[in-house]
Symmetry: C2
Subunit: 343 residues, 2 copies
């Protein structure tokens, strides 16, 4: 198996910089669209054979160095008892958002084997299928990010309800975070036991917080999860979207790898993170809409700066956009492999 | 006149930390709503007596230390020849977005006295009305921020068209930026000559750029504007939204004051900006939805850290939200004045 990705996470020596792409199994691939045409998004997540099929697609088509479980961060939230739908334009919608202690009582603990067997089955299928290929990454949303969806009832612009609860009813907010954290721990632990060889925690909305609020209301729960997963021995990646104001704090999470978005210079980010952690990122997803010459300049710069970190996993700074030309994603993977083995 | 704001911009000694609030004349005030009920948003911008009336409201109601011209950053874009509308939910819409050299040719230079007399008239009314009160701030959008609206045709999530033009057709993009920059310079210069005692350049979308793209495609134009306005002698504030990855670059803009959003710690930001520039910000607008105790802790922290800068102008880290309770905005202003005069 190509274990370059796992070695880079651990800061061990590698022959080239490994790459995977957030949302690499997704709408920009015609092969994905073909599978998705048969079923809706949630059914795809919940049908192990199909979820495994789309998970493998980018490994074969792009040549990335890791596969990531095809799923959604809100899948365990649904298992906690909230009705989940995906609307074409609006994105995820969760009915009856969490606003009171009473709402909190509706939320259940989960037993992944009983409540989310399809996730574990997908992982088992994938481990077999990927045996001679690449490692499999499991994932979950960070508790704060999940809390925003649960409190707002979906996506949000200003996180008004979330932050108002956080600041005005901190105990209620902490109680909610405690519940989500317990579920997330159980969920990631089950993914690892089923075969996930690394996990990524997505804090997609951490960057909407002022640093002192992030420190008080998001970071402690991420730390708890990471510290409790530590004995399971797999690399843990913590992706902090819009991390520009949060890097020094995020470094204290205990993660093996800090995933960063494109809005920071990766060289400066490594300086701020220090040399005892690996880094993942951070090409602007829109750079894939330029041409190969521009792309090569940007990729070369990131690779060069990335060499200063303990380990570097190349990735986009955010999910690949649905309109991305697939040939540019392929070009990116080749370019990262080629340029980094020369350096 | 209370010139505390102007002195803080220049880093001169002040008796207390001055405060104004981005979008302080706006929908959260019932007094504004009352004026707005009579006319649509654009008509309000273009009717000097009414624009002046709503500009003064927060000075009287909240007790802020500066007034800011009531207008919109897209007003000069309309004068350049693009049809502008504001839709209730969607925000601004510009017809026939700029995508080609041919589109560029449609854009006119402006003569503020001829094309935007209402802005200059509003400023003249305001200077008389504010004579014994507070200074008047003029403003414009930064060229990159204006370019995003002109290329996308309105607001955008990923700035796909803007960045694609920037990366794939850099010459076209630079030509557009050159035109916008010239207009913006002329416009701000006319505002200052009409009486604006300081100006703020709003780079609302700078933070969507990777730092190297910001350096190549946004910053040079801001520098040019600032350097050309310099002889006019008024303080220049450069607000960089989502500044976490851009502070070291933004410092080189030449502005007297760097306005920062709430996603960075103001103490760390001052360290990164250095001691030769004043700073403006940076309370999370959602903090106004908490209670006075929480607010006092947050305000106290920002004031304490802000004292390390050359000068500090208190502000929110982004525009005040329409749902904000007006009494909390008033409480904020009092709190800033009281806490900072004690420190």
């Amino acid at each position: 198996m190509n274990d370059t990705f796992l070695r880079a996470c651990r800061g061990e020596s590698v022959e080239y910089t490994p790459i995977w792409i957030m949302r690499q199994a997704g709408r920009y691939l015609p092969e994905y669209q073909k599978v998705r045409a048969k079923v809706d998004f949630l059914t795809l997540c919940k049908t192990p054979e199909l979820a495994a099929e789309v998970t493998i697609q980018p490994v074969d088509i792009l040549g990335v160095d890791a596969a990531i479980l095809f799923s959604d961060i809100l899948i365990p939230v649904e298992a906690m008892g909230m009705k989940l739908r995906f609307l074409e334009r609006k994105g995820p919608v969760l009915n009856r958002p969490i606003r009171t202690e009473r709402d909190l009582k509706r939320l259940k603990r989960i037993e992944p084997e009983v409540d989310l067997p399809f996730v574990l089955d997908t992982i088992k299928i994938l481990r077999k299928a990927l045996r001679r290929k690449v490692p499999l990454i499991g994932f979950a949303g960070a508790p704060f990010t999940l809390a925003t969806y649960m409190i707002e009832g979906g996506s949000s612009k200003n996180f008004l309800n979330t932050k108002t609860m956080m600041l005005s009813e901190p105990q209620l907010f902490h109680n909610l975070m405690g519940k989500i954290t317990e579920v997330t721990e159980t969920y990631l632990s089950a993914q690892i036991k089923a075969g996930a060889q690394a996990v990524q925690i997505f804090d997609s909305w951490a960057g909407a917080l002022a640093p002192d609020d992030y420190k008080a209301f998001s970071l402690p729960y991420v730390k708890r999860i990471i510290s409790n997963l530590r004995p399971l021995g797999v690399p843990i990646i913590y992706f902090v979207n819009n991390c520009g104001g949060l890097l020094e704090l995020a470094r204290t999470s205990g993660a093996d790898v800090i995933g960063i978005d494109w809005r920071v210079d990766i060289g400066k980010a490594i300086t701020r993170l220090g040399r005892d952690v690996s880094v993942q990122g951070n090409l602007d997803p829109v750079a894939l809409f330029s041409d190969e010459k521009v792309l090569e300049r940007k990729v070369g710069d990131i690779l060069k700066k990335g060499r200063r970190a303990k380990g570097h996993v190349f990735n986009l700074g955010h999910g690949i956009l649905p309109q991305t030309p697939p040939h540019m994603a392929r070009a990116l993977v080749e370019m990262v492999h080629e340029l980094s083995s020369k350096q």
